[in-house]
């Protein structure tokens, strides 16, 4: 299920808390300018595919970009089909896992949540 905003299709939607955390980590890393997060999928990992998250302000030609909550969300084009409909959340608190991908396409995920299969 693709998420659309102003007629533009978004692969990945991020929560407001996730956006805040991205800005916080970017500031800690000393990143200037319009802060962004690149999300992608790599092959392998305990369930077969692995999420990749990179806080960066570098745009690439291979990215689909949409701005949400003041953060540039860049989705690697080759990973797009695996991520359509995914929500990037942030799980806080003592038992929090940090950044969490909630992916409706994932049939299976591994125990720690970084790997999945479709």
């Amino acid at each position: 299920m693709a998420i659309t905003q102003d007629g533009v299709e978004l692969g990945v939607q991020i929560s407001e808390l996730a956006a805040q955390k991205i800005k916080y980590f970017a500031q800690k890393d000393g990143l200037d300018g319009n802060v962004g997060v690149r999300v992608a999928v790599k092959g392998g990992g305990c369930s077969g595919l692995t999420y990749d998250l990179d806080i960066t302000n570098e745009e690439r030609e291979s990215d689909k970009i949409v701005e949400q909550h003041g953060v540039k969300v860049m989705v690697d084009k080759k990973s797009y089909i695996y991520l359509v409909g995914t929500e990037l959340e942030f799980s806080d608190g003592l038992n929090g896992k940090g950044f969490v991908f909630v992916n409706p396409n994932a049939k299976k995920t591994c125990g720690c949540g970084t790997s999945f299969s479709v």
């Binding site: 992608a40 392998g44 990992g45 305990c46 077969g48 595919l49 692995t50 080759k78 591994c110």
Partner: protein, 358 residues
């Protein structure tokens, strides 16, 4: 179907060929038992050009292989290598591969006939990674120099300096004026070296070895050497019906490196000691005629199966390999051959193919 022929084909005497893995291979040069004896106590050479060889290039090769297999390969520097197992998401064996960083490319040695499966598997999991994989099996030759004296032969007669050669790694060398990549490739407990070179130079290197004290070894003796050293082979001891812990491949698994396909299953099997069967070495009784797949019986129930056996008796007995259920897999345990076959098979030990992690 046309059979592949190695670069050494014209050196082989007529009538000595057999078909294996889609290749025409020499079965025997002199006698299988003398060839086996040379490998077990001296130095012998076997043409393993039929072993799958892929060349992988691109920035993400080792990174991807690390996420698809059991051993830690992401940090292999040029000259280093490691055995690792490609696994399915249920922790079953796809293939045992030997990954070597040659410098210009990553060499992936697969089992015979599994090259395309490996290429397809890597392709399936390539999403944004940068890598290219090509099958170079027929474009170069590879010889396996094996035996307790193989290292000595290379250093003294071959004039190769081996101090820089790391376990399962590679070093460039020159033997009789020919450019050769020397790869450390033990055959179970027997020392061995794979010699990788051009098809054009292979006949000259073969002649040089054979004329300088190395025994030419055919497929029959090589297979017995494999069984005697409890080295699992694809199709008999390895494949999707088995997981790496059953096959005794624990030395090729890194339990601390993190995520790879099937990792959770393999970690659980190890932690909770849930391995259901073991690959064992077997000694058959003198009158028995083992066959592949033959059942092994205890108290009237089939508790195992024969997977491989040698053709040359050792001390009057043929040795073999088989999978036996955990409860029956005890050293010294004698199992009956499933009728109508006669005789028994005694468990003499467990298969342990060690890697750098042992």
């Amino acid at each position: 179907m046309t059979l592949h022929r190695s670069a050494l084909h014209d050196l082989i005497p007529d009538g000595a060929m057999e078909e294996r893995y889609g290749w025409e291979l020499p079965a025997v040069f002199t006698t299988a038992s003398s060839e086996y004896l040379a490998a077990a106590s001296g130095t012998a050479v076997h043409d393993i050009s039929y072993t799958g060889r892929l060349h992988a290039t691109g920035a993400d090769v080792l990174d991807l292989l690390n996420r698809l297999s059991t051993n830690k390969v992401e940090d292999l520097a040029p000259g280093q290598g490691a055995p690792t197992i490609l696994t399915t998401d249920s922790g079953r064996i796809l293939d045992l591969i030997h990954v070597v960083n040659v410098g210009d490319y990553i060499l992936i040695m697969t089992s015979p006939e599994t090259q395309q499966t490996t290429i397809d598997w890597l392709d399936k999991y390539t999403i944004m990674e940068e890598l290219e994989v090509e099958d170079q099996t027929t474009s170069e030759a590879m010889l396996h120099l094996v035996g307790p004296n193989s290292r000595q032969w290379l250093e003294q007669t071959g004039g190769v300096a081996l101090e820089g050669l790391q376990p399962y790694g590679v070093a460039p060398a020159e033997i009789a004026g020919l450019a050769v990549q020397v790869i450390d490739k033990p055959f179970g407990g027997t020392p061995g070296f794979a010699l990788l070179l051009s098809n054009q130079d292979a006949p000259a290197l073969w002649k040089h070895l054979v004329e300088n004290g190395v025994t030419a070894m055919g497929a029959e003796a090589y297979e017995t050497l494999r069984v005697e050293n409890a080295v699992p082979a694809y199709g008999t001891e390895m494949g999707e019906p088995y997981n790496p812990l059953e096959a005794g491949l624990i030395g090729s698994i890194d339990f601390a490196k993190g995520c790879y396909i099937g990792q959770e299953v393999i970690a659980r099997l190890d932690t909770y000691q849930k391995v259901q069967k073991h690959l064992v070495t077997l000694r058959f009784s003198a009158e028995s005629t083992p066959t592949q797949g033959l059942g092994l019986v205890q108290d009237g129930r089939v508790v195992g199966r024969v997977t491989s056996f040698g053709s040359i008796p050792n001390d009057g007995h043929i040795n073999g390999l088989g999978y036996v259920r955990k409860a029956a897999a005890l050293e010294g345990n004698r199992l009956e051959m499933e009728s109508p076959a006669e005789g028994w098979a005694e468990i003499t030990g467990f298969s342990q193919l060690f890697g750098p992690g042992d």
